[in-house]
Symmetry: C2
Subunit: 337 residues, 2 copies
């Protein structure tokens, strides 16, 4: 660190006068509904306090130039997406979000405008999910916009990644590959089609679907598709010490994908935030029509569980291609398309 | 963002092979005790799940070149400090920590070494506070090391910043100004005395003290001293719509402070992480000796509550100096000494 930066860190009177942590929270809160009944103490004290017997908690970082670029989407969309991506982990637990904490680190330049735009998106997301902002932190950033979102949800049933058995069916909601296709296009200097852009900017909210599947179809194992279908299936396989067969010919692909790389993106692009769930063989089939009627999204059987310890791709995708695609991927690098 | 950075973001095979999110969690977890009994599902699923009726939650960002520099302290100390600073908010609620989530964003260079060193400190802090690491997130950082720590604690009594009345006494634990004196010295290019450096690197853990004070002395109002005594008192005053008189001649100052700026740092330096608490007039005095015997730290009466809406400094500090010092401070700028 240079002394110039240090000096800069010490003197930014304009910013200080324009924005404080309580300002920030007040700005983000304005326009949201009253506090969720589980919240005993909201923002403004040392900690928030909530009342709930069993609670799911998850946290997700969104960092400028790692998870988004400012010339891809506007900051309202960034704020919305940061919350929805974090909530996706609760959806995989069929958990209803009630509280959110948001830590922001912002560059000094345009801090007020950035806060307002992010705040618009965050408020939109809070309304969408029905949760209350109960706390957070605010810091100066030495560079990128940094958003860490913590989500709290109610838990009725323990839905985990575990407990699947050979013979079980593997299902996914919605269509895959759209978000990673948008990122791929941006990284190549292009402008993605609107349908693809939207899947990046507006991750789906699948809590209602997850709870419906648990209640009506007895689903007990789910995961949200954040790392790409192939890698997320390997998480499932590892958790239950089984093998999984993925039938590449039936993967539900986003309709706007280019033919050339559609399957590759659908199978390993990541950041789809759809649900992947496991049912006993044939057990979900009787509920499919009702599910589609209720939610107007597709539900596709993409494979099955077998004895073993690997994810095998059958159909037009070769094993070698699978290995090449899946081996190096990790959260550490969100842009891997 | 330049295309060079984007390219860099796409290819870092060495790092990918060396570290993954599950690796990270495994590395941090290794050596920690078994999971706290409140944790139903720990790391490795989509969310963690815990069981607790009333829960305190707080979150604190630690960002390189904003909250620390690598040539000030080692990364083991950074990891320890990041957790302890977050836990300080729970101490102010007299809340016993049981769970922690840690989001890390790391530059690619030396990511494994950085993770191991931070992990050593994080583990030390977890052992110190008796809490379990139950989740988190891992991301690439485009520059600084970024750590967001979320702490969860049990709540028996609601201890807040509110409910103080004219006539009440204001107390602080320990001594003040040491941490900000260390930062001031570093920012000026010097090397702080070891006693000052330690107050920065090892924020105190005051949960036991807080719980003792609630149980034995009936304390109902506390705040942790993160923003500097003067500013934190103004938070207290605002929360209860009262005035506070601070007696500058009795502020307990760190013994290693330079005479010249000792009072200024003690009164407004910040990052002390001691407790500031409020008792009915005279109500805490009978418990002072027992408190000192039990915890071997000082407890000092530094002022009292009055009608009004401002914090007044009496003694050798003038009102004008107070105004100058307190007006611009905020979390947005941790280095304000």
């Amino acid at each position: 660190m240079t002394s110039r930066n240090l000096t800069k860190g010490k003197s930014h009177a304009n910013t200080e006068k324009l924005i404080t942590e309580s300002d920030l929270i007040a700005r983000i809160l304005s326009g949201t509904e009253k506090m969720h009944s589980r919240i005993l103490i909201g923002p403004g004290d040392d900690s928030a306090i909530f009342e709930n017997k069993k609670t799911a908690i998850s946290t997700d970082l969104t960092i400028e130039n790692v998870h988004f670029c400012r010339n891809w989407v506007n900051l309202d969309e960034v704020g919305y997406r940061a919350v929805m991506v974090a909530v996706s982990d609760l959806a995989a637990m069929a958990s209803n979000p009630f509280g959110v904490l948001i830590s922001l680190a912002l560059p000094e330049e345009n801090a007020v405008r950035i806060t307002e735009e992010l705040g618009d998106g965050i408020r939109r997301a809070l309304r969408k999910i029905g949760a209350t902002l109960i706390g957070g932190d605010l810091s100066r950033s030495p560079g990128p916009i940094i958003i860490d979102v913590v989500v709290l949800g109610e838990i009725n049933d323990l839905i985990t990644r575990r407990g699947i058995r050979p013979g079980d069916d593997i299902w996914v909601t919605g269509v895959l590959g759209g978000s990673s296709a948008a990122v791929k296009t941006w990284l190549a200097g292009g402008v993605p089609e609107n349908g693809l852009r939207e899947t990046f900017a507006k991750p789906p909210f699948r809590v209602r679907e997850a709870q419906w599947l648990v209640k009506n179809a007895g689903i007990r194992t789910m995961i949200d598709l954040s790392d790409g279908l192939l890698r997320d299936l390997s998480h499932l396989a590892q958790a239950s010490k089984v093998g999984i067969v993925l039938e590449s010919d039936v993967i539900p692909l986003h309709p706007d994908l280019d033919v050339d790389d559609a399957l590759s993106l659908g199978i390993s692009g990541g950041e789809d935030y759809e649900l992947c769930l496991v049912s006993k063989k044939g057990a979900l089939d009787p509920f499919l029509e009702k599910f589609r009627d209720e939610f107007d999204i597709s539900m596709t059987k993409v494979g099955y569980v077998e004895k073993g310890s690997e994810v095998r791709v059958v159909g037009e995708y070769s094993t070698s291609l699978m290995q090449q695609n899946v081996s190096g991927f990790d959260h550490f690098s969100p842009w891997r398309v």
